[in-house]
């Protein structure tokens, strides 16, 4: 049996701290008070109890058990409503505990999460079944534990990514992986029952594997692993289609680097193996979805056939999203005066519950400053490395392709949703799969500091991130229980 390598001691300690904090989030956040968690639980329950995906329009959306107990817990009314609270009555809680005979098998209707592919939900079925005789709250918590474990995968993959791209120095890897591990929104989402947790893990693994083939050359093993990680992401959430152009580019760049040192066959074989590992599961899912009459990709349902969708108007949307609007630029109907700040800073870093639980304004300002330091520092280091002949271009091209593809997909969908449905689509958490790049930037920026001071940088960074975690937990506890 192959020996499983022990993680380096600093990574093990970081994972331990991450586990403690993530468990705290998983326990403290009331049931169904994370975005769409009720839908995700309904999906898991239907899969576990009936062995079927949801989407049968003749059936209720959720089971009697979920509907009745959510009502007793006041979950739906508390969601996104800061003036409301979960039920605090012990008498109602005792009533809810006594109701063990409610049907779990009569859900499976038009669940809002039904268009998601099934991989994450299939993973969550095992813990659900393991505590099948327990209360619904225990089964929900068991599902949350799956997400918590996936967060550890994300953190470990970020550690490996930094080791591959920047340098294998534990202090720098700790700075970058620590930023990812302790990012409040990432932890809050990863402590709930949601496919996003698997999405984060698969993207982080794909980033690491892409960096690996770019640095070490294309091997069949790495190519297959990269293909499988990408396929797993696609089978988790359609968002991962945005990862495909970057992965293909990384594979082609790695193959190009092998020209001259390897035969054509030695190059084509891993490429084909990786492509097959990516394509087979995805095509299998698409074929199943087609024959089962299911949507394989979420689609914007147009209600206004005459909606004005044009590239020019899209440009107008982008300007209004990111930049201040001079008088000659046509306004766009965003909910916020500063959509980029609202979505990419506030919502992406610290807005909890169903986004109604916020931190004081100065916290977001401080986060913005920290981000600016990390990214500007990383750019400075990149420029310096370029002068010394470092070859970062291929990985930068990969990263840029991934970032731009995700942003393009999100913005185009958001634009169409605004124009055709008059609604907002983008949420800050949609950017979280890119978080390992922030870890990379933080680690890169830390290389600008003299080696003997890097431990201090790591200490201060992790200390501040821990304080942010504690503050966010305190705000969440106060919002739901005080």
């Amino acid at each position: 049996m192959p020996r499983v390598p022990r993680p380096p001691a600093p990574l093990a300690a970081l994972l331990g701290a991450t586990l403690v904090l993530a468990l705290a989030w998983a326990i403290v956040v009331p049931p169904f008070q994370a975005p769409d968690e009720n839908s995700h639980f309904g999906y898991v329950q239907n899969l576990a109890e009936r062995g079927k995906l949801p989407g049968d329009k003749r059936r209720p959306v959720f089971s009697t058990e979920q509907t009745r107990l959510s009502r007793l817990a006041n979950s739906d009314q508390t969601a996104a409503n800061r003036g409301n609270r979960p039920t605090w009555s012990e008498a109602v809680w005792r009533t809810a505990q006594a109701d063990r005979s409610l049907s779990r098998t009569d859900g499976g209707g038009l669940n809002p999460a039904r268009t998601n592919p099934p991989l994450y939900y299939a993973l969550a079925v095992a813990p659900y079944r393991a505590v099948h005789g327990s209360s619904m709250w225990s089964r929900l918590f068991a599902g949350r534990l799956v997400s918590v474990l996936l967060l550890l995968v994300t953190v470990a993959a970020t550690w490996a990514l930094i080791g591959e791209v920047v340098v294998r120095r534990p202090v720098l890897q700790l700075v970058g992986a620590g930023v990812v591990a302790l990012q409040p929104m990432e932890m809050f989402i990863s402590a709930s029952l949601t496919p996003d947790s698997l999405l984060f893990a698969t993207w982080a693994l794909a980033f690491w594997l892409a960096a690996r083939i770019l640095r070490r050359g294309l091997s069949a093993r790495d190519a297959i692993a990269l293909g499988l990680a990408t396929a797993a992401g696609i089978l988790t959430k359609s968002t991962t289609y945005a990862l495909v152009p970057g992965v293909l580019l990384a594979a082609l760049l790695a193959a190009r680097r092998m020209r001259g040192s390897a035969s054509r066959r030695e190059i084509l074989r891993p490429l084909a193996a990786g492509a097959a590992a990516l394509a087979a599961p995805v095509l299998g899912w698409l074929a199943y979805a087609h024959f089962a009459g299911r949507a394989a990709i979420n689609q914007v349902g147009a209600t206004d056939a005459h909606a004005h969708v044009s590239l020019r108007y899209f440009g107008n949307y982008l300007w209004n999203f990111y930049l201040p609007r001079p008088g000659f630029i046509r306004p766009f109907s965003f909910d916020s005066a500063y959509p980029a700040y609202q979505d990419w800073i506030k919502e992406a870093f610290a807005q909890f519950g169903w986004l109604e639980t916020t931190m004081p304004g100065w916290v977001y300002a401080a986060i913005t400053v920290a981000l600016a330091v990390a990214f500007l520092g990383a750019v400075g280091v990149l420029v310096r490395r370029r002068r010394t002949g470092a070859r970062d271009g291929a990985f930068l091209a990969f990263a840029a392709t991934v970032v731009l593809a995700l942003l393009a997909g999100l913005h185009w969908t958001d634009f169409r949703t605004h124009v055709e449905l008059g609604q907002n689509f983008i949420q800050g958490r949609y950017l979280l799969p890119l978080l390992p790049f922030l870890g990379l930037a933080a680690a890169g920026a830390a290389t600008a500091v003299r080696p003997e001071r890097r431990s201090l940088v790591a200490g201060v960074t992790l200390g501040l991130a821990a304080v942010l975690q504690l503050g966010c937990l305190a705000v969440v506890v106060t919002r739901f229980y005080a």
């Binding site: 701290a17 326990i27 605090w88 225990s138």
Partner: protein, 220 residues
């Protein structure tokens, strides 16, 4: 700095001290709420008419009942507020003369203790009608508004408050008890206190260990 891992302990320690200071001074007058927002006119309460909202479990004692009323033109009528249920009824009132499309008013009542199941009833003691604001029936899923035994299909806005609000720190035990409800069976007050200790001390200690070991770990 010779011991950089100290930063990971000192910074969270300062953060926890700041949070405790805040929790020791911040007070919240809200005892609990039915969570209904003033979105619609839940009932037009004519002179002499009454309505009740219930049943309402009392998870924390209160001595104020807050309502949302609408009286766009002219002064609003005085209202009698009665809290009744499994125990002695208590009474309060709202003086007339208020104006505005949406007015939030509070009636003082004798203290109602934790653990009771009550209804809150309003009676119009004036000569003009008043709009009692609230939401659709699902707004408070466990209680309903009714008039003379007839369900109104709505819920009225009701917040229950305390005249002497405790600090968050004073409420720590209550907060912990509330956090055990609608959770798995192992989530008991003791579990949560242990978890708190792990979060406040254990996680920073592990992070400090990570920094300490990273400083000594050889590059690989």
């Amino acid at each position: 700095m010779r011991r950089p891992w100290l930063a990971v302990l000192v910074i969270p320690f300062v953060g926890v001290a700041a949070l405790l200071t805040r929790a020791g001074t911040e007070r919240t007058s809200l005892a609990f709420t039915t969570g209904v927002h003033p979105q619609i006119v839940a009932a037009q309460l004519g002179p002499g008419r009454s309505l009740c909202q219930g049943p309402i479990d009392v998870p924390a004692s209160f001595d104020r009942v807050a309502l949302a009323l609408g009286r766009p033109a002219g002064g609003g009528p005085p209202l009698a507020v009665t809290v009744r249920g499994d125990g002695p009824s208590v009474h309060g009132s709202i003086a007339g003369g208020y104006r505005g499309a949406q007015v939030h008013l509070t009636a003082r009542v004798p203290r109602v203790r934790t653990g009771r199941r009550v209804s809150v009833c309003l009676r119009n003691r004036g000569r003009v009608s008043v709009a009692v604001l609230g939401g659709a029936d699902a707004a408070a899923p466990l209680s309903h508004a009714e008039s003379s035994g007839t369900p109104l299909g709505t819920d009225i806005v009701l917040d229950f408050r305390r005249s002497r609000p405790p600090t968050l720190l004073e409420q720590a035990g209550t907060i912990v008890r509330r956090a055990t409800l609608f959770h798995p069976g192992f989530v008991q007050p003791l579990t949560l206190w242990i978890l708190l200790a792990l979060v406040v001390a254990g996680a920073p200690a592990l992070l400090a260990m990570a920094v300490g070991r990273a400083g000594h770990e050889r590059d690989r």
